[in-house]
Amino acid sequence: MKNWDKNRLAVNVIAIFFFLLTLACWFLPKKAFSDSERRELAKLPEISPSNIADGGFMTGFETYSADHFPFRDDMRTLKALFNRYIFRRADSSGIYITDGYAVKTVYPLDPDSVNYAAKRFRYVYDRYLENSGCNVYFAVIPDNGYYLAEKNGYLTLDYGELVKLLKEKTAGFALHIDLTSSLDETCYYRTDTHWRQEKLRDAAYTLLTRMGNKAPERGYKTNTLDYPFRGVYCGQSALPLKPDTLCYLTWEGMEDCTVINGETGKAMPFYDMEKAAGKDPYMMFLGGSLSLLTIENPHAAENKHLIIFRDSFGSSIAPLLTESYGKVTLADIRYLNPEYLGGFVDFENADVLFLYSTLILNESSAIK
């Protein structure tokens, strides 16, 4: 074959590949939502003279074209694999895999963020709790990096410093409950941020006993979902991770409990099986991200009231705390402005627990 034929062949091979990819960019149908990233994908920006003149269309098109790149999830996986195995990068999009767990790098500690969270806790105390006869506590839920990072050579925030900051800022009104000894890495999902409900009995024990309750004795049955649970890190890391199994606990007398969605006023189950089969199965626990809900347990040891200011971790541990409390109220002040709490919650003589993970405390801007 003559040289010019060979050159032409080589050019044609590349051109065919390139134009096929181009045609895929131009004509493949566009998705509206990314399941792996759990977010809406960018829409085509408005094509108008003003939007073009100020560059808005161009900036929007950059994002749009990346969001809708053909086989984007597979492309992200290709990048993650290339980074991991060729460049030997320690993490992928801030998530690393160690001891079989996906871990999000939470580093460095942001003292301003922690101080802001503490300031909002103090606001709630000053506004509602100070003269209400409440016992106030706070507990920090360590992310799984606390147990995995240092021993495997990864970076993690200074947990001790975080707790120390919170203690200083809540001194005089809240007692710290240390959960670190009640948990280990096996208490967390391998592919998700959250902890596993079936592994939280020690943590529930610590919380309940430190809040002055007698040791919990309730027996639980562990139920397992039939289908695999692909946690949020599967999509974020874009690495091919082995999925988890998701378990939930039931107990005798559970059916007598009442769970009320504070947003709608309607009753709801502890575990929403529709959401268990949805895009984010962890949301099955107490309906996911609700701003306010109450649980009433007629079989509780005492007819006391527990109010938990929480993030998403609270959804899975709250059912275990109902053993000691006739009423448990969960408030998420990322969605519900504390200004309006008084209209919805009776704080009189309640036990109040601020229960937040390091992930939220280190990025607390969402707290209102």
Partner: protein, 488 residues
Amino acid sequence: MSAGQRVVSDLLIQKVSQKEESAMLFSGIPFLFYFLPAVVLVYSAVASRHGNLVLLISSLIFYAWGEPVYVLLMLGMVITGYIFGLLIERSSGHPKLSRLYMVISVIISLAVLGYFKYADFFIANFNAATGLSLPLLRIALPIGISFYTFQIISYTADVYRGNVSAQKSFVDFAAYVTFFPQLIAGPVVRYSDIEKQLTGREQTAEKILTGIRRFIIGLAKKILIANQLGELCGIFRASGEKSILFFWLYAAACVLNIYFDFSGYSDMAIGLGRIFGFEFPENFNYPYTSGSITEFWRRWHISLGSWFRDYVYIPLGGNRVGKLRHIFNIAVVWMLTGLWHGASWIFVIWGLYFAVLLIFEKYFMLKILNKSKVLNHIYVLFFITVSFVLFDSADLSMAASYIGGMFGAGGYPAVSDEALYYLRSYGVTILIGIIGSTPLIKRAGIWLSRKLGSAVYIIEPVLLCALLLICSAYLADGSYNPFLYFRF
């Protein structure tokens, strides 16, 4: 740094960020999979008759993507350059008139460049020197203005000198100035380099193949190496846990990031030029293998260095003058080179830093450097590393802090957990970068292609497609991907 300088520095950073967000970049999906295929298709259909017109229109679209308003400024500059080129040539029989036209053209180009790029710098320094508080103009810097004004200046100067004929076709001239492969980040292509190619270029499969190869390799250099090391530089700057090791890790990342970013972009520009039948001059020739700073500047941003040599240094007298005047010429050229990179004292000092080294080498060191290949490389890499840390700093105090930190100043520990983590995470990328900045990979590629014989015509395109796919994967994961040099 004075308050005025700090304001200008902040303005620069703000301007760069805004421009980076909106410009169409070679290493971006809109360019790669929307603009380029459309241009290639249309060009291929009409190349023989309207090739330059297609390139002009597509270049204007390319530029307007990032500068929907300033595209008119660029067109105005092109029209000015075109008219003055013709006027200079038509008055060649009247040397004084011809010279006047040339001077006016250069003044216009420099005035426009000076206004958009340096006005606030001069105002801020004037305020600092006089104690006045004249308001800053806060003008947005048009992308690529430093490149196209220099091209127009060199064109009118070359017409005046008789090195080239004035271009009669406005389309051809405009296509030359605005040609998108080299418009916003070089190389600084002189009209004399491509005069004949404007009307008589040949497109062959071999040329297209070498162009594609060059483009894809440049894309990989930018995305797989430069961008990753740019991330590391950002991580370092944001870190609250610095250590001597981290300073050196940052310095290495900085040096390699700048090289792979800029040379990658030049490769893409040269590759694209070749696809359309143009041969652009080389802009980088393995500068980190240099044995002296003198040699370094013959291998780094070659087109800019030669521009300053031919249009500033030689007209000033070059080295054919007395010693003091020679030193003065070097200092002026390098001060201007620094200033060309940015309206900030950091860049002026950076330029003068090289002036001092070059003068030192010329008069004392060159013979000594030629004696040891190992020591001279260490010498070059050391001074280049310090220079790029300076170049990358937002202001003088940051530069002093970083350079001092590299040598133990500031009380930093030798090593930190963070530094070790990032050394582990980016070590392979840095190693690939170090090897890639030498001719080793190219030589290995040539050796391999000889061994493979004809099979290389199948294997190479498959490998290039794979590389393009991998680069696309990185882009799909996050399209924000700015290039460093187009702020100039």
